[in-house]
């Protein structure tokens, strides 16, 4: 795992220390698994991404 972390950090040109690499490598499996799970959300299959949230301004109730 540490080797994979070194490759990814080097690709991003991030000169992390050995201690930091060890910490990041220890946390990486759980993070990777959680990110991988995002690709298994069925409702996302045909949905375009939102790269900046746009919400409607219509509102009812107090302050409208």
């Amino acid at each position: 795992m540490t080797a994979e972390i070194r490759v990814l950090l080097a690709a991003a040109a991030l000169p992390a220390t050995e201690a930091e690499i060890a910490t990041l490598a220890a946390r990486y499996p759980a993070f990777r698994a959680a990110v991988d799970a995002l690709h298994e959300v069925p409702a996302a299959r045909d949905l375009p991404p939102v790269l900046g949230l746009r919400v409607r301004t219509e509102v009812s109730g107090p302050g409208a």
């Binding site: 930091e20 995002l38 959300v41 900046g52 949230l53 301004t57 302050g63």
Partner: protein
């Protein structure tokens, strides 16, 4: 003289020595505004009390990076003269206000609590939100502490103050709007600006025992604010009460031609009578009461629900959709966008960034382009699912955190490196950064150790007034928001 803390690492405070602060009276912005107009207090008087509180408390609590004492005195005198002449700029006129040091202010350089940020960035200019505060007659008291660029965790070894909790200085104040939370809690100002990307308004509000409002995404312009994550960042107030937060948001909100993300949605909050009859409240428990939570949390939350029910609200249980997925998406998006902003700097000046910041943002290197796009798609799915819940309830409530502020020693792992794990175990705030909804955090009682607990109120996009209605009604009954740390009470007595 304004001071910018750039010196060597300071020794830890000596807790055996009594530390005292004073607090401006009256306590809330709203009460102070009324007193100013009644002529029972002056802006200068409020400011001098705030300065006295800062003189005594700031060396311990670490609220400020730079103070604007002399400029503030001029502003306060001007406000007093204008009010005496019948020129009223609104509820912030003459009110001492602190500004998190990620917002540009003409009174001094912006640091984002980093050695890296170019001190010439926006020098001599005001962020749009600061311009609006000044135009509203607010008295800017200074620039407050943060986490580096709003991310990571502080360390004693960093050349900046370590923000300490006003209720127990051996505990952290929360962040990243740390100094703003401290300042409100200890009377160094009556309201302040914060920004929130994963909880950075609500966390210090919760840990310091004050109120904090994260507005709807796009409600407040970000022009002149140091970014952390473009599609997530929000700007909003911390103050003692929900009504105080509404007063500040009314000044901050509204379109900004320079910020394309900012909506044309000014904020006006009507008066409320405290009656919540007809209001439908959804209660979230799943994932918010983990093993190891503070023993006082369950009782405090139940008591809050009892209060809301007693005010006429109909309460029912709801489950937050995509809770785990949305929280992951928020982390993936934040680290990716932050790395996009800082990659060049991190590559060239790695060791000038704090270990807390670079340890978090480096995770962006592990998020592929496809991961980032998928995370944004999940945000959209979750927004639609949350919208459906808000078809059945008007407000969603849950704890802001499962306990009080962590001890400062808990901010680092066994190797001494900052470890955000403690925060992810405590906080429930990041979920709401993945969607656009506004969230208000209000004090909800205390742990057995005397640290504040907090209640989150989430609403529909642009329905901040509904949150203020509920928060204000709750605060009329409970009064938790009026509690001040023991050090304040000692001096007031």
């Amino acid at each position: 003289m304004p001071t910018l803390f750039t010196g060597p690492v300071r020794p830890g405070p000596d807790w055996s020595r009594a530390i005292s602060t004073t607090s401006p009276h009256p306590y809330t912005l709203t009460d102070a505004a009324a007193a100013l107009r009644a002529g029972t207090v002056t802006s200068t008087g409020l400011l001098e009390a705030a300065i006295a509180a800062a003189d005594r408390g700031d060396p311990v609590y670490g609220a400020y990076l730079r103070r604007f004492d002399e400029a503030a005195r001029e502003s306060a005198a001007r406000a007093d003269a204008e009010l005496a002449a019948g020129q009223d700029r609104g509820p912030l006129h003459g009110i001492p206000v602190g500004v998190k040091d990620v917002f540009a202010a003409a009174g001094g350089p912006t640091t984002a609590q980093s050695r890296v940020l170019d001190r010439a960035w926006w020098a001599g200019r005001d962020a749009t939100v600061v311009t609006r505060l000044v135009a509203a007659g607010a008295v800017l008291t200074g620039k407050t502490t943060t986490m580096e660029f709003g991310c990571g965790l502080p360390e004693e070894r960093d050349p900046f103050p370590l923000p300490r909790n006003p209720w127990r200085p051996d505990h952290w104040a929360g962040g990243s709007s740390s100094g703003t939370g401290i300042g409100v809690a200890t009377g160094m100002f009556l309201a302040g600006l914060g920004s929130d990307t994963a909880g950075s308004i609500r966390m210090p509000a919760a840990f310091c025992g004050v109120s904090g409002l994260m507005p709807t995404y796009g409600r407040v312009p970000g022009t002149g604010c140091v970014p952390l994550a473009y599609s997530v960042d929000r700007i909003g107030p911390l103050a003692r009460s929900a009504r105080d937060c509404a007063a500040v948001l009314g000044v901050l909100a509204g379109p900004d031609p320079v910020d394309p993300e900012c909506a044309s949605a000014p904020f006006h909050c009507p008066d409320f009578d405290g009656d919540l009859t007809g209001l439908r409240i959804g209660v979230v428990r799943e994932g918010h009461f983990p093993d190891g939570r503070d023993p006082a949390l369950d009782g405090a939350f139940s008591a809050a629900l009892t209060v809301l029910s007693g005010l006429g609200a109909a309460v029912r249980e709801v489950v937050l959709p995509y809770r785990a997925e949305l929280t992951t998406a928020v982390v993936a998006v934040i680290t990716s966008e932050a790395l996009a902003h800082h990659r060049g700097g991190l590559s060239r000046r790695w060791h000038e960034y704090g270990r807390g910041f670079r340890g978090e943002v480096a995770n962006g290197a592990f998020v592929s382009g496809a991961d980032y796009v998928q995370a944004q798609r999940v945000r959209r799915i979750a927004q639609a699912a949350v919208d459906r819940i808000f078809g059945e309830v008007d407000v969603i409530v849950c704890p802001t955190a499962s306990g009080g502020a962590p001890h400062v020693d808990e901010l680092a792992g066994p190797d001494g490196v900052p470890d955000s794990g403690v925060l992810f175990r405590l906080l429930t705030t990041p979920y709401w950064n993945g969607v656009a909804n506004p969230v208000l955090a209000v004090p909800m009682g205390f742990t057995a150790d005397g640290l504040p607990l907090s209640l989150q109120l989430a609403g529909r996009p642009y329905a901040e007034a509904e949150l203020v209605r509920v928060g204000e009604a709750y605060q009329r009954v409970t009064g938790w928001h009026l509690r001040t740390p023991p050090v304040v009470a000692e001096v007031a007595a």
